[in-house]
Symmetry: C5
C-alpha cells in the first residue's frame, strides 16, 4: 500500500455507469515524514475520507477487493484512514 | 486512476481480432494543475472521449472491467470524462 | 498500452516448455514523436511483427489475453502493428 | 519480490473491516548492499516481522496469495524474513 | 519480460510455508547491451539458473503461471535462460 494525503476531489458526470455514486479523491503520495511528494493518484473512496486525512491506498486488482469497487474499472482505492505511524521508534505522524 | 488529456489517436489495421472496433487514444498524463507531462499511455476508449478532454484512465486488469474491454488484451482504458477537480479547496480544472 | 519499436530478438532454448514456439522480441519504447527511449521490454509476439515496426504492447495480466499467451508466464505482448498516430491533429508517425 | 527493511508500523482504526487484525508495516526498500533507499511500501505482515529485519515483499495480486491476505484489498505483503544474501559470491547481508 | 543477470541468492528460513523448496535469486536488470543497471529483482527460479546467466523474468500475476509458482505469493519468476539477443541486426549478447 501507499501512504497518501487526501487533497482534492475529481468530478465526472460522463463515466462508466457502474461507477455512479463512487467518490474519486485526489490523493497525493507522501514520504515517510508525511511530506507531500509530486506523485498522486485518483482513488475510489471506500472509507469516507475527508480533505487533509492521511490514508492508505491499494493499487491494481487489489483495489477491486472492496464491496464498493468489486468488478469495477477501478485501479486505486482508499482502504484505511491512518491514525499514526512511526519510524525507528519515533512517531512521524499523528492524526 | 490517472488524470490525463486526450491528445491523439493511434491507428492500427493489423491487430488482435478481438480489438476490432476499439478506438485507441493517446492520453498524456497531467499534473495536479492540469499541465501536460512527458508521460503518456495508449488507452482503449470506453467513453467516446474527444481531443483535448481530460479523462481518468485505469491500468492493468482493472482496464478489462468494462463491457468494451472484457477479456481483451488491453491494459489501459478511459473510464470517465473529467468535468472538474479541486485541490485544497481551489478549482484547478473546469471543462 | 505502450508504443514501441521492434529492434531485436531474444533467443532462448532453456525455457518454460509452454513457451516453445513463441517469439520474444525486444521492443524499445518510443516517445510521442516516435523517438526511441532507453526503456525497453521483451514481449511475446502475437502479431508476426518485423524489425523496425512500431507496435502496441500490453503488460501484466492483460498480456495473457491472447490465444498465443493464455495461461502462460508472459507479462508483455505485442497486440497490434501501428500504422499511424497523430498528436494535436498532426501526424507524428506513418508506417 | 523486493528486498526491504522493516522500519515502522502504520496504525489505523478506520479501515475496511476485513483488514481487522492485520499489521501494516512500513518497509523501506534497500539496495543490493542492504543500504536503505528513499522508496518504501506499506505491507501486510504475514510473518510476524520485527523492526530492523530484512524481508521479502510481494506486490500486486501476488500479495493476496497468503492465508492472511486472501481476497483482501492488500497490494503488498511480507512473505519471508531474510537470513542472508550474497552477490557475486560475497555475502552482502547476514541477519 | 525483463532481461536480467543472475548475481546472487537470497536465503530465508522463516517464510510462507508454500515457498519451501523454491530458490530465490537476485537478478540485476541489464540494458540492451547487457550492461548491469542499479535495478534488481528477487525472482523465484523456475529454470535452475546459475550465477552469471542472463535470464528473462516475468512480473506480477504472470509470475504465478509456472508449475513451481502457481497460487503462491511470488511476483517475479525466471522463465527462461537467454542464449543470445540482437539489436538492429547486431548480436549484443551470446552465452
Amino acid at each position: 500500500m501507499n501512504l497518501g494525503k487526501v487533497v482534492g476531489t475529481v468530478v465526472s458526470t460522463r463515466k462508466e455507469s457502474v461507477l455512479d455514486g463512487i467518490r474519486f479523491l485526489l490523493v497525493r503520495l507522501v514520504d515517510t515524514d508525511g511530506k507531500e511528494t509530486p506523485s498522486f493518484v485518483v482513488a475510489a473512496d471506500a472509507m469516507g475520507a475527508g480533505p487533509g486525512e492521511m490514508v492508505l491506498t491499494a493499487a491494481g486488482s487489489s483495489a477491486r477487493q472492496t464491496t464498493l469497487t468489486q468488478n469495477k474499472p477501478v485501479d486505486a482505492v482508499i482502504l484505511a484512514i491512518v491514525d499514526t505511524w512511526d519510524i525507528d521508534g519515533k512517531t512521524k505522524y499523528t492524526k
